[in-house]
């Protein structure tokens, strides 16, 4: 489509915005409400990240992701995480195969991770060992089995869901795993109007038919536009300040005692990249303070590990981020 140093034209940005809006509209046909959630999932996809979606059962998380996969025109697979799920069930394994000549050979049987949109449903129900099977795939975009690395196809996005209220029989995601997620998105209850529309849509005779609006090339082309968006120095410094403020050793505010561990540099990358996408979909060519503020919540909330005091006082990472944004 274009090389990285080529001058970007206004039409390119306009096309980006139009495509983005089309995707949103198409998905919104089958998914009532969750506009921000949908937008953030698309931002995640375009920024090359993965999203952890948290919400109580029945809010349509799985439905949203399946719909998105269908509209994007990408290969999609779904894994239902259970306690007895094994890593091989995700990434695949080498199997002994007999050929037509009667000989035997070892062949790699690909797991569901070899897709472009991977729905990891109820990821916290699997053991950490199985959860960790996704680490390499999420970070390196490859899977190594038997000493052989298998590349995943771009774009690749893991959309994991988890239930925050059921703690029995679940395994909270380890910090290393959490840090791999670009965004952590919270699914809220739909409002009355949305509930009415949901009731009407899902209890009727027919479901809306969805068109496939994009393909792999279009998505990759959109991704290339994002990285070149300039970030003014003061905006970059602002993002750094926010990240630094999440560290307990800094005395930005009274919230420091509620934090055990702060956000890693991956959080800064997430903020900046998400800010770039927000800027473009807003029709701007540069990242602003507002973009960073907006990106700070989904980028950092799962990277802030609360201290015992914070847990005891029911402090949430979002309230800490509220304080940080106000303080800076």
């Amino acid at each position: 489509m274009m090389n990285e140093t080529a001058e970007i034209k206004k039409e390119d940005v306009q096309s980006f915005i139009e495509n983005f809006e089309k995707l949103k509209e198409e998905i919104s046909k089958a998914v009532i409400g969750h506009s921000d959630l949908l937008e953030n999932i698309l931002v995640c996809l375009l920024a090359g990240g993965h999203a952890l979606i948290e919400g109580v059962p029945g809010l349509g998380k799985t439905h949203l992701i399946k719909t998105m996969g269908a509209v994007l025109g990408l290969k999609m697979s779904r894994i239902q995480f259970t306690p007895d799920l094994m890593p091989a069930d995700i990434i695949g394994t080498n199997v002994l195969m007999k050929d037509d000549a009667g000989g035997t050979s070892i062949r790699f049987s690909r797991g569901p991770v070899f897709s472009q949109v991977l729905l990891a449903d109820e990821i916290n129900r699997a053991t950490p060992k199985t959860q960790s099977a996704l680490l390499e795939a999420m970070q390196e975009r490859q899977v190594t089995v038997g000493g052989v690395s298998h590349m995943l196809e771009e774009p690749f996005i893991v959309l994991a869901t988890q239930n925050p209220i059921e703690m029995e029989g679940t395994y909270p995601l380890p910090e290393a795993q959490l840090d791999r997620f670009f965004f952590k998105l919270i699914v809220n209850y739909p409002d009355s109007g949305e509930l009415g529309r949901i009731a009407e849509l899902t209890t009727g005779v027919s479901m809306p038919e969805l068109d496939v609006l994009s393909d792999m090339d279009m998505i990759n082309g959109m991704k290339k536009l994002i990285r070149s968006v300039p970030v003014p120095e003061e905006v970059r410094d602002y993002a750094v300040s926010i990240l630094k403020a999440t560290h307990p050793e800094t005395e930005t505010g009274s919230f420091s005692r509620y934090i055990r561990y702060g956000a890693s540099p991956r959080g800064l990358q997430s903020m900046i990249l998400a800010g770039k996408v927000y800027a473009l979909i807003s029709g701007r060519y540069n990242v602003s303070f507002e973009d960073i503020k907006r990106a700070a919540y989904p980028s950092l909330r799962h990277r802030i590990i609360l201290s015992f005091e914070g847990e005891a006082e029911s402090i949430t990472p979002d309230s800490i981020l509220d304080s940080i944004v106000k303080a800076l």
Binding site: E4, T5, A6, E7, I8, K9, K10, V13, S228, V229, P230, P232, E233, E234, V235, R284, Y285, N286, V287, S288, F289, E290
Partner: protein, 491 residues
């Protein structure tokens, strides 16, 4: 001009506008505060502390001007002012991003700069940094007028008391008296002094002034008057020391007499002022001492004497103490306040002992000349007093005229002294001599026992009575007098 230059030019305009707005804001804010403070301070400063100068007003105006100038000083850069503009106008960092990336190799540079140029065409610096008047600003002209009125007008908010009017009258009267004294001489200093007294008198009658400020101003003028009196006396001394022909001497003597008269009259004016305003002689002496420090020779205070005076001694003396010391000096009794020097005099020279009035140690070597204190405003009167020197035994100074008394002495010794030889005198009140006595700035401890002094006087008295020819019947009068004051015993 490149696109970035256009952006930089716009940033320059923004910087100028911001500095102008800041300067205006500074001067308005400070003016408001300064005018309120100035208005509030005007009443107490002018009417209770007697501050007449509009210097505080000038200071406030200067401070406001400085704040205005300070507003133009700043360290704004193109980038910082563009960032501020982005924030103020809600431009989402478009201008600052364009300034940073407009000419870089970023793929978006053209788009960013193009958008920024479109923006600066629609934005005026006045929109980014508008002149915003606060609610207090309309009051500034009113406050300015009020402040000027309070400081510059002679309007008095406080009622002028009868006493203040009377004081004004006294000062105006003093002015006229000085003019009258100076009518023949046309001395410029005296003319100025008279004018100053007149102005002060009018000022006191025109508006309320507190006692402290009145006293301070009167004291200031009184010190000037005293200094003038001293100058007149000093001129007389200098002229006396010259060798002149007879005609010149006559003229000089006339001038000298005239100066002395003027000094006397001015001294009277000063004395009346001092009585009116309770100015203590100590206060005057303090200033006189300072002025006399550099003087040497006749009438000057010795350094030793000055060094003995403790700092602030001028304020320690009270009028009561002064009057006491003056009284004791008049009676010729050994004044404790004076014996610091006088005690030594007793040993050194009999002629200086108990010198009344002026025997404060200032001129212990000048008892013979009579011109003992040329700096004194009462020079002439003191001279008259000095003619009578009770310290000298009666008769000792009359040795030259002893021939006139010789027949009486002989008659007395031979016992032929009869009633017809008595001298008839008129019994009437003597002439009262006014004198201004300077007290010592402090009371020193006596250096002689009281009884030693009494015995000394007694010996003097007895030898004088034995030696002198007294009118018949007066011995008992004199004896009774000394008995009464305890110098003699009944025996």
């Amino acid at each position: 001009m490149t696109d970035r230059d256009k952006l930089a030019s716009f940033a320059e305009q923004l910087i100028k506008q911001k500095r102008l707005i800041r300067a205006i804001k500074n001067i308005l804010s400070l003016s408001f505060i300064a005018l309120i403070a100035g208005s509030l301070a005007a009443l107490p400063l002018r009417y209770f502390f007697g501050l007449d100068s509009p210097a505080p007003l000038g200071l406030l105006a200067g401070a406001c001007l400085l704040s205005f100038i300070y507003g133009f000083l700043g360290v704004e850069t193109h980038l910082s002012i563009l960032r501020e503009s982005d924030e103020k106008m809600g431009l989402k960092e478009k201008l600052s991003a364009a300034y940073q990336f407009g000419q870089s190799d970023n793929p978006y540079s053209t788009l960013i700069m193009g958008e920024a140029l479109r923006l600066i065409e629609t934005i005026k610096p006045g929109n980014v940094f508008p002149v915003i008047f606060s609610k207090r600003d309309p009051f500034i002209p009113l406050l300015t007028g009020l402040c000027l009125f309070l400081w510059m007008s002679s309007f008095s908010f406080l009622q002028i008391s009868d006493r203040q009017m009377a004081i004004g009258d006294i000062l105006l009267d003093s002015s006229e008296r000085i003019d009258a004294v100076n009518s023949g001489e046309k001395d410029k200093d005296l003319e100025e002094l008279a004018e100053e007294y007149r102005k002060l008198g009018q000022k006191i009658q025109d508006r309320f002034m507190n006692d402290k400020s009145i006293d301070r101003e009167v004291e200031e003028l009184s010190l000037r008057l005293e200094k003038k009196i001293e100058e007149l006396s000093r001129e007389g001394v200098q002229k006396e020391s010259r060798t002149l022909s007879d005609e010149e001497a006559d003229s000089e003597i006339y001038q000298l007499e005239r100066k002395r008269e003027m000094g006397d009259e001015l001294g009277d004016i000063l004395e009346s002022l001092m009585k009116t305003f309770s100015l203590t002689p100590d206060m005057r002496l303090g200033s006189s001492v300072e002025r006399r420090d550099g003087m040497s020779g006749e009438g000057g205070l010795s350094e030793e004497r000055n060094s003995e005076s403790p700092p602030g001694s001028a304020e320690e003396g009270t009028p009561a103490e002064d009057s006491e010391s003056s009284d004791s000096a008049r009676t010729g009794a050994p004044d404790k306040g004076e014996t610091g020097e006088q005690g030594e005099d007793l040993q050194d020279s009999d002629s200086s002992q108990g010198k009344p009035g002026k025997s404060d140690g200032l001129e212990k070597d000048n008892s013979k000349s009579g011109n003992t204190d040329p700096l004194s405003p009462f020079f002439d009167k003191e001279e008259k007093i000095s003619d009578f020197d009770p310290a000298s035994p009666p008769g000792e100074e009359m040795t030259e005229d002893m021939g006139d008394f010789q027949p009486f002495r002989e008659k007395k010794e031979s016992g032929e002294f009869g009633e017809e030889d008595n001298i008839r005198g008129d019994l009437r009140e003597g002439e009262q001599i006014k004198s201004f006595i300077r007290a010592l700035p402090h009371i020193v401890e006596p250096t002689k026992e009281e009884m030693d002094i009494i015995h000394f006087y007694r010996n003097q008295l007895e030898s004088a009575i034995d030696r002198e020819i007294l009118p018949p019947g007066y011995e008992s009068v004199i004896r009774d007098y000394f008995l009464a004051i305890g110098v003699l015993n009944d025996e």
